[in-house]
């Protein structure tokens, strides 16, 4: 058994205070993938269709890319940036716990990637459909 010295005790106390602060600070903003589905469905005023989401994700619209060009048509896998070749970690929440946990990040990438693939923003319904599909992947 290890005996903790007074030094270690203060250390541990500091660490747990810090941890508590971090959890409190993070808790206010941390989101889960389901929260995004709920939000987009509410904005769209209609339920998500995972089938439509799958079609949207894997089909080229106006530009040279579809979502699948970088995220693959099986987003539980690692993707590759179509232009730079850089690896992109899996997009589906089941395969990557970091996905869809930060609203600023999610909104930023929907804005950019929709612009790049559709030359416009995605509608709330399109985002809900994609979310519904990504959450249905096993």
């Amino acid at each position: 058994m290890m005996r903790s010295t007074p030094f270690m005790e203060t250390d541990m106390r500091h660490i747990s205070i810090l941890a508590a602060l971090l959890i409190a600070a993070g808790g206010a903003h941390a989101e889960s993938p389901r929260d995004f589905l709920t939000r987009f469905e509410k904005e769209a005023g209609a339920a998500a269709s995972p089938e439509r989401g799958a079609r949207f994700f894997t089909t080229k619209q106006s530009g040279e890319w579809s979502c699948a060009s970088c995220h693959t048509d099986k987003p539980t896998q690692v993707g590759r940036h179509a232009k730079t070749d850089k690896a992109i970690t899996a997009l589906a929440p089941v395969a990557n716990a970091e996905r869809f946990t930060d609203a600023a990040k999610v909104d930023k990438w929907f804005r950019r990637n929709c612009n790049d693939t559709l030359s416009r923003l995605c509608t709330a319904q399109e985002k809900a459909d994609v979310m519904g599909w990504l959450l249905s992947l096993k």
């Binding site: 940036h81 232009k83 730079t84 070749d85 850089k86 950019r112 990637n113 790049d116």
Partner: protein, 154 residues
């Protein structure tokens, strides 16, 4: 030369090759988060301040992609890039008309350093683009472009 003098000289000479071409990245959270998601961190030292300024003013159309970010972050990264830009080896990064270049791969220094790489090599499927530094420079993401970590893929 006495031995006392020779040792420091020897040490300095030994450490020079490592320093000469190391583009180590100064730490910056905003730059890391916003400028390394689509490609490796390109070294701020490889373009002059005017080139970076132009790039940071046109992120909504960044080499054919939308890389736009909020203004607070944009200003912070622009400052970081300006502070760490250029240097003696880089010189001015402008085209023949004096307009700022946005691509490191179009600068005179890049062209000089890669004179021996043929056009066919750049187009290999394993390389795709001169901008894909990491295809040949294994340690590019860490800012190390030295000869010992270069290997051209087939």
């Amino acid at each position: 030369m006495t031995r006392q003098l020779a040792l420091p000289f020897l040490l300095a000479a030994l450490s020079l090759p490592a320093l000469a071409d190391s583009y180590s990245l100064p730490k910056n959270v905003a730059f890391e988060e916003e400028c390394t998601s689509c490609h490796i961190a390109y070294p701020p030292q490889m373009l002059d301040a005017r080139s970076w300024q132009h790039m940071m003013n046109g992120l909504a159309n960044h080499f054919g992609t939308d890389a736009s970010i909020d203004d607070r972050r944009r200003t912070a990264i622009a400052d970081f890039l300006a502070r760490n830009s250029g240097g003696r080896k880089t010189g001015r990064t402008v085209d023949a008309k004096g307009n700022p270049l946005l691509r490191i791969t179009e600068t005179a220094r890049f062209e000089r350093k890669h004179r021996d790489v043929t056009a066919a090599t750049w187009k290999r499927a394993s390389i795709k683009s001169p901008a894909n530094c990491a295809a040949c420079h294994a340690q590019a993401a860490a800012g190390d472009y030295s000869e010992r970590s270069i290997s051209i893929p087939k």
